[in-house]
């Protein structure tokens, strides 16, 4: 091997890339962990070692008669997480399955795949507010339902509600399920499907016993993306919830904007631990690197 990029020391080529992550990911995370044990006044941070920030977060949580704010917020965030995960998984699987197994020409497959991914490169906020003229009080859906006489008064729960938050999440992030699941499905040897059919398996049996297990990697990668996005979200829940719904990400954002860094850092550490535990459970079953 004598070509230049192969001869240049590998670590030299990787240095700029590695420096970015050292300076803007690893160091900030270390600081978050450290500052979560600091104290703060209104205008300055005081290096110290106190677990007070963590006690504050869980204050009142020993009370069994009523849930404390922290647990309530986590439960609400988890509820969104589970709902969005289940819906994106079903839609993502169906769409990927259609593309991988029912579209026969490669050209049509590529075109339809691109059709599904293009919105990913456009603004998320725009895609959120694009629901306003549809779901609003005088929006298309309410006008339509009233015109047919199904309802007398406009439905209020369509916009700035749990419903619109879940809808927006599904709208924005199903792509993260489709791409890895489609990628896994394209690697499935078509002979296996034939063999299943020849052995007398019905369509459902083939999907459940052959396609699902062989798409496991894609399903898990997609799930990791969706779960981490929803767990840390504050933008979607903020905009689509009309800034009225609490989430873990929102707590951190609000505390940061009030410069309560130690409290925000402690919340971030807990969020990180919860998210990492969820991912850890999922990665137990897959090695991402083999899949490229």
């Amino acid at each position: 091997m004598s070509s230049s990029p192969r001869n240049a020391p590998a670590w030299l080529q990787a240095t700029p890339f590695a420096l970015v992550f050292a300076l803007f990911l690893v160091l900030p995370l270390v600081l978050v962990a450290a500052v979560s044990f600091w104290r703060a006044t209104d205008y300055e941070l005081i290096p110290a070692f106190t677990a007070q920030n963590y006690f504050d977060i869980f204050s009142g949580c020993a009370n069994t008669s009523e849930l404390c704010v922290t647990l309530k917020t986590y439960l609400s965030t988890l509820k969104f997480c589970v709902l969005v995960w289940a819906i994106t998984l079903v839609i993502g699987f169906a769409v990927a399955y259609f593309l991988a197994f029912h579209v026969r020409s490669v050209g049509a497959q590529t075109l339809l795949f691109i059709l599904c991914t293009v919105p990913f490169w456009t603004s998320n906020v725009i895609r959120m507010i694009s629901w306003v003229p549809l779901l609003g009080r005088n929006g298309v859906i309410n006008q339509g339902l009233q015109a047919v006489g199904l309802i007398d008064a406009p439905l209020e729960w369509l916009l700035f509600s749990d419903f619109s938050v879940v809808l927006a999440f599904v709208h924005l992030y199903t792509m993260f399920m489709i791409v890895p699941i489609f990628n896994s499905m394209m690697r499935i040897d078509r002979a296996l499907i034939e063999a299943a059919r020849d052995s007398g398996a019905s369509g459902w049996q083939t999907v459940w016993n052959v396609v699902v297990p062989l798409s496991r990697t894609g399903i898990i990668i997609g799930s990791i993306f969706v779960i981490t996005i929803v767990m840390g979200d504050f933008v979607t829940i903020g905009v689509m919830g009309g800034q009225q719904i609490a989430s873990v990400g929102k707590i951190i954002q609000v505390q940061t904007s009030y410069l309560q860094f130690p409290a925000a850092a402690a919340n971030a550490v807990i969020l990180l631990i919860v998210t990492l535990m969820m991912i850890w459970g999922l990665t137990r079953v897959v090695d991402i690197r083999k899949e490229l």
């Binding site: 020391p9 992550f21 941070l45 029912h102 490169w121 725009i126 507010i129 850092a265």
Partner: protein, 295 residues
Amino acid sequence: MGDAKRPAAFYALAAVFGLFVLFLYGPMITIFVLSFQGPEGGLTFPMRGVSLHWFAKLWEGMGVVDVAAAFRRSVALGVVVMGLTVLFALGAGLAFRKRFAGSGLLFYVSVASLIMPSIVVSLGIGLQFRLIDTAAKSALESGGLSGLLEGYGTAMGLFTSALGAHLTWTLPFGLLIMLAVFNRFNPAYEEAASDLGATPWQSFRHVVLPLIAPSLVGVGMFGFTLSWDEIARTSQAIGDVNTLPLELQGLTSTVTTPAIYALGTVTTVVSFAVMGGTWALMRWLRARGGRRAAA
């Protein structure tokens, strides 16, 4: 699957797919249409005439927000992020072809960056720059340079903290694309080049680079469009000025005219222009590569 007759499942799934595409694009098309609302029109249908009124309003600025300045800032940041993403991801991609100490760790750190909740990264970078500011101010004070101290605001800014935040988001995508490209790359081309006496640099410049150029264009597009729309990581790490999507997010709760749809149309047009340009450039590079190979 070779038989000509489609199974019933095909039609059911095709219907699901069609509904999904409608679900993806329907709302976006609605606001494109509504952004051309007449001057008397509101946030929802019916259309009251067709005009460019709201685009003109947008250009005048919305209240305290200077949309044009935010637009310029976002373009500048996006272009810088794009350039650095291509360079750094290419370097890392080349490095990953060989084994090097820490390559496994570096891979997992970049994957971690991709799935790390953005608010945590953003908080960390914001915190980091706040501590830098404190340290810098006390250093200036103890050095007796209080003249400089007055001019010192914050180290946080578009091309420091925000740039770093964006790179933690774009570089993992760039690396994954480069790894996929080099996994499928046939080293025989390079070996042939060096057998024919090409220097290492020549074989990179004239053999490897033309072959991977279309993918690099793709990496560049990821870099620009991801930066152009980024909110969560930028939010706590930007300082005094705002990028366009951050302004837009703020405007969602205050603006109640179709001007916000006009802004949506403008930013989406930029995204589509970048995608279209990327596609054209990739096709051109591939066609050129094909001609060269044939010649």
